[in-house]
Structures are given as C-alpha cells and as structure tokens.
Amino acid sequence: MSKRESTASRLAGHLEAILTGFKYLFAEPRMTVRYPEEVIELPEGYRGMIIYHKERCISCSLCAMICPADAIKMHLERPPESGGESAGKAKPKRHPGINYTRCIFCGFCVDVCPAGALEFSDIHDAVYEEFEAMIYPPSEFEKGPPKQEFPKPPKRLRPKMDERRGIRYEPLD
C-alpha cells in the first residue's frame, strides 16, 4: 500500500458520499424520457429511414455502389406494358431497393445521389412482425417508411446541456 489516508479523512469521505446521495435524492429533474408519451425533438439533418422519389431517379446505381453495408441493391424492373407502338420495346430500368436489416443509416446514399432522389426522414422507430418485411423492393421503397403511430399525441422535448445535471429536457410547447 503506497499511501494510507487517515481514519478521519476516510470517515469524512464516507459521510460526504452519503450526503451527496441524499442531495441527489431530492434533486430534479430526471433524465429519463418516457418514450411513447414523450418524444425527443430531432435535430436538423437527422439520419432516419430513407425516402425514395422514384420519378427523380436516373438509375445511375451510385447509391448501391457506395453503400458500405450492401443494404441497397439495384432491382431490374420492366416499365409497365402500355400497349400500342412501344409495347415490349421499352428497356428495363434499374431501381434501388433497400434492406433495413443491413442498413447502418450512414447516409452515404443520400449524399451521393446526383438527382436528389433519396432523402432522409426523421422516422427511426418502426416495428416489423416479419424479417422479410424489412427488405424493401423498389415498389415498396417508393411508398416511404412506415407511419409512426402513438397512442396519445406525445409531448415533444428538446435536450439542453446543463452545467449541473449534464443534460436536461425542456418541453417544446
């Protein structure tokens, strides 16, 4: 043992610890956000699930190439048969589909898209009953992420840095 504290200072340490505990027992507020009733307001540029605008897509495949987790894959899709002259002549087009079991929400695909066909939403919490439902082919991808449903309209909170407590949540309205 290198250095022994005196008995008095150790006793004082114990007392100080217990008093600090008591101080925190009566201190407000708490840091817990009770999720379905309270929701943290997301900051600008939050990387949630991805919205796909099919009409802007130029089928360049850049998103599939840059995806580090191999979540985006290009699907070959024939345009709908319209009959008449061009029937059967239209070239098949490639469209991205996304696999949310692999996606790491890095946002490279949104950044690299030259046509602005991919966009972030602020939805990050979705429940799937089946594993396969998390894999979106282009036809599903363009419908957008699932809608969020709350039992009651949640209270919106904004995180605030606080010198004393570390972090605090303030109600937005």
Binding site: A17, F22, Y24, R30, T32, R34
Partner: protein, 339 residues
C-alpha cells in the same frame, strides 16, 4: 356460527397467534418485503436520475410492482437441475426464509403484547437470525453449480466475520441495560435516554453490521450479480427464487425492528392520540424500523460493492475492535462518566 367467528377472532388477536402470523410476523413481513424492494429500486432510480418501477399502478409510482413480480414468481416453473441435490435444493430456500422471519416471534410490540417474554429474548432474536446464512451455504453446495458454490463460500466467510461483532455489539447494549429482555430494555430507555445517545459507537457499528449480514450494499458480496450471477441462488427459478431473494430483506426487517428496540427507544414515545390503543406502540415501532430500513437500502445508491478481502478486513480489523470498544463505552456510560 357467530360463536365460531368470535372464537376465531379471539384466537387471531391473541398475542401468541397475532405476533408470529400478522405483526411483526409473516403477513407484515411479506408486506414490508414488497414495499421495501420497491422503495430500494425507487431510491436508487431517483439518485441516478431515473424513474424506477412506474407502470404498475402509475398513480402511486408503481408501488405494487413487486406484487406483479411475486405473481410471476408464483406461476413460473421452479426448475430443479438434474445434478442438484434435491432435498437441500428444495428445502433450503424454505428454511432460509423461515429462519429469517422466525425470530419475529421473540420481538415484543408493546409492554404487554408479545408472543412470549423471556429473559434472553435478545439472544433468541440474534440466534435465530444467525441460523439463516447456514442455509445459504447448504443451498450453494446443494445446487451443484460453481457460482452457487463460490457464493456459498463467500457467505461462509462473511457470517464468521459479521455475526461475532454483531453479537458483541448487541451484548454491549445488554450490559448497558443490565438485561437481555427486550421489553425491559425499552422500559430502561424510557427512564434514561435512547440507546443511540447512550452508546453511539455501538449504534453505528450495529448499523454497519446490519448492512453486512443482510448483504446490502456495499457488502452485497454473496449475490454479486455482476461477478457470480446470483451467488448461491444461481440455479433457482420460480417461487423458490422468490423465497431466496426475499429472505435477506426479511432479515433486514427483523434486524431493523431489533435496531429500533435496542437503540431507538422501541415503541416509546407513543403519540397522544394513539395512546391507550394496542395500535399505537405497534405503529411507532414499525415507523422506526421503516426509517432504519430506508437508510439501509439507501446505501445501494451510494456505494459500489466491496471486494471480499476488503470487506473481511473491514470486519475483522475495524468493526470487531469497535464492537469491543463499544462494550467499554457501555461500562463508561454505566458509571456515568459518559453522560
């Protein structure tokens, strides 16, 4: 029919049935168990800026969370490992719980309400509570699990280290009061002063030893869930696990009642509006025990867990000498030098 009900009520309200069965015995022990575990989780949560159990009866802050847990334990299947020693495995938790709460029979509730009065009721209470850890050892050995064995051995080290100073401290108070009869101790405290003022050293030592023997933080070394899963109780499930978990809290309840009688003046003073009824002394004693229990479970939110060698060194190098010194403090208080 009425006669039978009357006879049953008389039987229930007679002290030798009421004390072991209702208060301070089995039923109130269960009620305290459910309340104090909730309180412990709630306090730890508040200190750590969380909410703790909340969603079972939200209006009262989730106070019946433990009732829900108990129901779950009741209906869960108690799995008995094939390699375990069946008889100790099954009867260990039952005897552990029983020996933890049994000593309530010797705890008086007022001057004339007790199951039995004895010259050595202090020794009866301490003696029966000391039995409980032995079953921890048996459980740990019988469940044929390495964590159980380590936990049981830890319990073995700890009981030898904490029960001896605990007896010495309690006997220091017996020397001070000149009796081991808990009823007489309260009478003497009314004449003199509360035991905590007469011998503060013994009070502090006894308090720390209570933390020790009921495995509260910082001495929660036997269960130590981050190191050895759940210690002796690793293999348990269902209601048998519920019993093992509840046993240390019931022991805490019994020792808190004892602490209230030894150091906090027992059921005195009874407030004016409650005097004359049988309810008064019981409530006062219960309130004092609750305060002690609150302080005990509060330590969870302050302290980390001691390593076993640290705890043993604390017990043998500091608490044991302190308990011996508290005997001398008692003598000094008797001669009047202290006051």
């Amino acid at each position: 029919m009425m006669q039978i009900i009357e006879w049953l009520m008389d039987l229930l309200l007679s002290p030798w049935v009421f004390v072991p069965l209702v208060y301070p015995g089995l039923i109130s022990a269960f009620a305290v168990l459910l309340f104090i575990i909730w309180l412990e989780r709630k306090i730890a949560a508040k200190v750590q800026m969380r909410y703790g159990p909340l969603y079972v009866l939200k209006q009262l802050g989730g106070v019946i969370q433990l009732v829900a847990d108990l129901l779950r334990y009741l209906f869960a299947e108690p799995i008995i490992p094939r390699e375990a020693d069946k008889i100790p495995f099954i009867f260990g938790p039952i005897l552990l719980f029983a020996s933890s709460y049994l000593s309530t029979v010797a705890i008086p509730v007022s001057y004339d309400f007790y199951a039995f009065r004895s010259d050595i009721s202090l020794l009866v209470v301490l003696g029966i509570t000391t039995l409980a850890p032995a079953f921890n050892l048996i459980i740990g050995w019988g469940s044929n699990n390495k964590f159980g064995l380590i936990g049981g051995l830890r319990e073995g080290y700890l009981i030898t280290a904490d029960e001896i100073p605990m007896f010495v401290t309690a006997l220091a108070m017996a020397i001070l009061y000149g009796t081991m009869d808990l009823v007489k101790m309260v009478e003497i405290q009314v004449d003199w002063a509360w035991g905590i003022l007469l011998n503060p050293l013994a009070a502090v030592t006894f308090f720390v030893l209570m933390l020790f023997s009921t495995s509260r933080f910082p001495f929660e070394i036997v269960e130590a869930d981050s190191e050895i899963v759940m210690g002796p109780f690793t293999e348990y499930s269902g209601i048998l696990y519920g019993l093992t978990m509840g046993a240390s809290y019931v022991k805490l309840y019994v020792l808190s009642l004892l602490f209230a009688i030894l150091f906090l003046g027992g059921w005195e003073p009874v407030p004016q509006f409650l005097s004359g009824t049988i309810l008064g002394p019981g409530l006062v004693l219960f309130a004092k025990a609750l305060v002690v229990m609150f302080l005990q479970v509060f330590m969870r939110s302050v302290y980390p867990r001691y390593r076993i060698d640290h705890a043993l060194r604390l017990a043998w190098h500091i608490l044991f000498p302190l308990s011996l010194v508290s005997v001398f403090v008692s003598f000094a208080a008797l001669t009047g030098w202290w006051l």
